[in-house]
């Protein structure tokens, strides 16, 4: 706090920005805190609760990384970012890691100079209609009025979908999800379209959720994942493999309930390598041997995190779908820990 408003303003000018850029991993360890960018609030993915503690699916990724690096899942400084400030916050070094339901696209990865370390949620754009409309497929939506958030990729996807199916629609442009809910319920549009997870979360808040259906068509690919700055590969590896550890833990049957007994050593060498009782995987990453054990213990494996924040027993009520393990017909596939 020595850097106060007055003195801080004076000192900044003198300090050169050219200090040698140490690796992010060392910075985080020296600071003792992970600066993690999250959304300012999205149901199920990231939001502070009544006590002001952050909770959610994206938040769990931050906590797992903090646990792996620092051994403490609470050593996270959550930096809320909006859709407009998220990329500059990461590029300028204000945050070490952005876990903010951000779609992995070519231009963000290549042109904006970021590194997507994996996918923690496979999303896609869907449609929601009132049940009384009697529509069972998006292809029957000829001439419908569609509520759509402006300035997003969903707007472009929608135009593509209707054009390629040669049917017409009338867009009702809106600014935020909250506005969209009101417009849709007031009947200003027949259809509301956004990411399927968002549709499910929105429907869960309705007075009568059963009066609305989410159509089976998913018209876009929206792989959401955490990302880091381009060029710092050691740090990118740490984040990537922390995420993979959560996914692999589910595949291997490691849960927060049985992790301490499994960490003592099992018959399965892959579990032993992951949890650090065999091999030197932690050392290769520049972390403790029990890094993955701590990451999983922070909030459970991928399946537990999913069930707790956005799964079918929560108000958001999402099915695993594409986000099931590859052994169960989903897309989650962690490379081998070896």
């Amino acid at each position: 706090m020595k850097k106060t408003v007055f003195l801080g303003a004076l000192t900044v000018a003198g300090l050169a920005a050219g200090a040698a850029a140490a690796g992010t991993l060392d910075d985080v360890k020296a600071r003792g805190k992970l600066n993690c960018g999250v959304t300012t609030g999205l149901v199920g993915f990231a939001a502070p609760n009544a006590n002001g503690e952050w909770e959610g699916f994206d938040v769990a990724v931050c906590r797992a990384v903090a646990a792996a690096v620092l051994g403490d899942s609470t050593a996270v400084e959550f930096v809320p970012t909006t859709g407009k400030t998220r990329f500059t916050a990461l590029a300028s070094g204000e945050i070490d890691l952005l876990a903010r339901n951000t779609t992995w696209t070519f231009s963000r990865d290549v042109d904006l100079k970021f590194e997507f370390v994996g996918v923690n949620y496979y999303d896609g754009q869907g449609f929601m209609v009132p049940k009384e409309l009697g529509v069972s497929s998006a292809k029957e939506l000829d001439g419908a009025t569609v509520c759509i958030q402006t300035g997003t990729t969903t707007e472009l996807n929608l135009a593509d979908f209707f054009r390629s199916n040669n049917i017409s629609y009338e867009p009702v442009p809106i600014e935020t999800n909250a506005e969209a809910q009101q417009q849709y319920l007031a009947g200003s549009c027949d259809v509301y379209t956004t990411d399927a997870s968002g549709l499910a979360a929105t429907r869960a808040t309705f007075d009568d959720p059963s009066g609305h259906v989410i159509l089976p068509e998913i018209i876009s690919k929206e792989p959401l994942g955490p990302l880091v700055r381009h060029g710092d590969h050691e740090w990118g590896d740490v984040v990537r493999w922390s995420l993979m550890a959560l996914i692999a833990a589910e595949e291997l049957g490691i849960t927060s309930a049985n992790i301490s007994e499994m960490a003592a050593g099992t018959d399965n060498p892959e579990i032993n390598r992951l949890l650090g009782s065999e091999g030197t995987l932690g050392e290769m990453l520049g972390l403790e041997a029990d890094w993955a054990q701590k990451a999983v213990a922070a909030g459970g494996n991928y399946g537990e995190i999913f069930a707790k924040n956005i799964g079918e027993d929560t108000p958001v009520g999402l099915a695993r779908g594409l986000n099931a393990q590859w052994t169960e017909g989903g897309l989650l596939y962690a490379p081998p820990f070896r």
Partner: protein
């Protein structure tokens, strides 16, 4: 001659007849109604239409408010209790009131600190707003900013004390030299202030804030309506003197000062506030090294102050332009120098004319502080749009939350507007 005497007349009235009551249509409520609501056919029709509208509004809102649920812990429970009846879910306010007022990270055992700062603000503002009060109270007003900083941000007392000493040193130097040369006094004051701040900064021991009596609270943890009030009060009180200086500078005969002021005002007025806020939050981070950024709150205060100062300068320029040229000439003919003429003759009149405009800018500025929610600061609106609506318990509660926000802002803005009307009456000297 005449036999008619009073005594001979059969009856002469000796007392006055008591006045008859006016016709029912010319008295009391009926008269008021006739005159004000039903004076002619068109007015009657409008009255009936207005009554119908009021009835319809109340019919819809009253059950909603009176049926309101105050004690549940989520929207789903509210709906369960209401069973499909109309009714508000005010429980979100009872559960999250502290987040709405203070933000979600301000430590809850320290809520007394901003509360105390707010109460002290009333005492500090009183001598400025009501000039019938004794002038000695202004001493507290001068100390207040440093006291409030210490209360809200906590940390070591040394920081505000050093800052205060810097200003005191600057004032002392200015007083000493202002008789001989304005330039020496002005630049000497700036140098003295910086010298005190730098020396004082070195004296504060490293880590003094860690175990200070008031636990330090970083700016990022401020939020809620408290943040709106802090931004509003700070920026209005900073932009008023800056705006006066800019307005005078724009009228100056010195081309350098004049053009600097003109360019500043026209540039800032030509740029949307939200652009300036984005520059404050996003672009500045590129220019400063990551470890030593200027506090986000300070950056936002600077930008909003610049913005409103430009508007206030234009309002005051209007006031200056409205004064007859004779007032300037009268001041000159009395032998007053520039500072005296402005302080004693021109500005008191120009500012009085500008009051409605200044208040208009102040109210607008206060409401504009909600724009900081776009740069992910959790002010009142940011709290509602972000964390509260994104929680699984309260997603879908809109009217209650935004109505509460509107109520808070209305109370403050209506207060400001009432004060300005009082001030105009108090300063009215033209006996119209």
């Amino acid at each position: 001659m005449s036999d008619t005497h009073a005594q001979t007349v059969a009856f002469v009235r000796e007392t006055q007849i008591p006045p008859a009551p006016p016709p029912a249509s010319e008295t009391g409520v009926v008269k008021w109604l006739r005159e004000n609501l039903f004076s002619n056919a068109a007015n009657s029709a409008l009255t009936i239409a207005a009554l119908a509208v009021i009835y319809m509004v109340l019919q819809n809102t009253l059950p909603w408010i009176l049926n309101g649920v105050w004690t549940t812990s989520s929207l789903a429970e509210c709906r369960e209790i209401l069973q499909g009846k109309t009714g508000a879910c005010f429980s979100v306010l009872t559960e999250r009131w502290n987040q709405l007022l203070y933000g979600f990270k301000y430590p809850s055992d320290a809520y007394w600190r901003p509360n105390l700062a707010l109460v002290l603000l009333l005492f500090a503002a009183a001598p400025v707003l009501f000039f019938d009060l004794p002038r000695k109270l202004l001493i507290f007003t001068a100390i207040y900013p440093f006291l409030a900083f210490w209360l809200i941000w906590g940390g070591t007392l040394m920081v505000p004390v050093v800052a205060l000493l810097g200003f005191a040193a600057a004032a002392a130097v200015f007083q000493t030299f202002s008789k001989s040369s304005f330039a020496i006094a002005f630049f000497g004051a700036i140098a003295a202030a910086f010298a005190v701040w730098i020396l004082g900064g070195l004296l504060i021991p490293e880590g003094a804030s860690e175990n200070a009596w008031l636990a330090p609270v970083p700016s990022r943890d401020l939020g809620g309506f408290m943040l709106n009030l802090m931004l509003g009060v700070t920026c209005v009180s900073l932009s008023l003197p800056l705006g006066i200086a800019l307005a005078l500078g724009r009228q100056s005969d010195m081309p350098l000062i004049k053009w600097m002021c003109v360019i500043f005002i026209e540039f800032v007025r030509g740029v949307p506030l939200i652009t300036l806020l984005f520059v404050a939050s996003v672009m500045l981070a590129y220019f400063f090294p990551p470890e030593s950024t200027v506090d986000l709150f300070l950056r936002v205060v600077i930008m909003i102050t610049m913005f409103s100062a430009a508007y206030i300068a234009e309002v005051i320029r209007g006031g200056l332009a409205a004064l007859p040229k004779g007032q300037y000439e009268a001041a000159d003919s009395l032998g007053l120098d520039y500072a005296q003429a402005m302080r004693l003759i021109i500005l008191p009149q120009a500012l009085k004319i500008s009051i409605p405009g200044i208040v208009n800018v102040a109210v607008g500025l206060f409401k504009d502080t909600t724009l900081v929610s776009v740069i992910s600061m959790f002010d009142l609106v940011g709290m509602i749009r972000g964390p509260i609506l994104a929680s699984t318990e309260w997603n879908g509660v809109y009217w209650e939350l935004l109505g509460f926000a509107a109520l808070l802002f209305f109370v403050v803005c209506y207060g400001i507007s009432q004060y300005s009307q009082w001030l105009e009456r108090r300063l009215a000297t033209d006996h119209r």
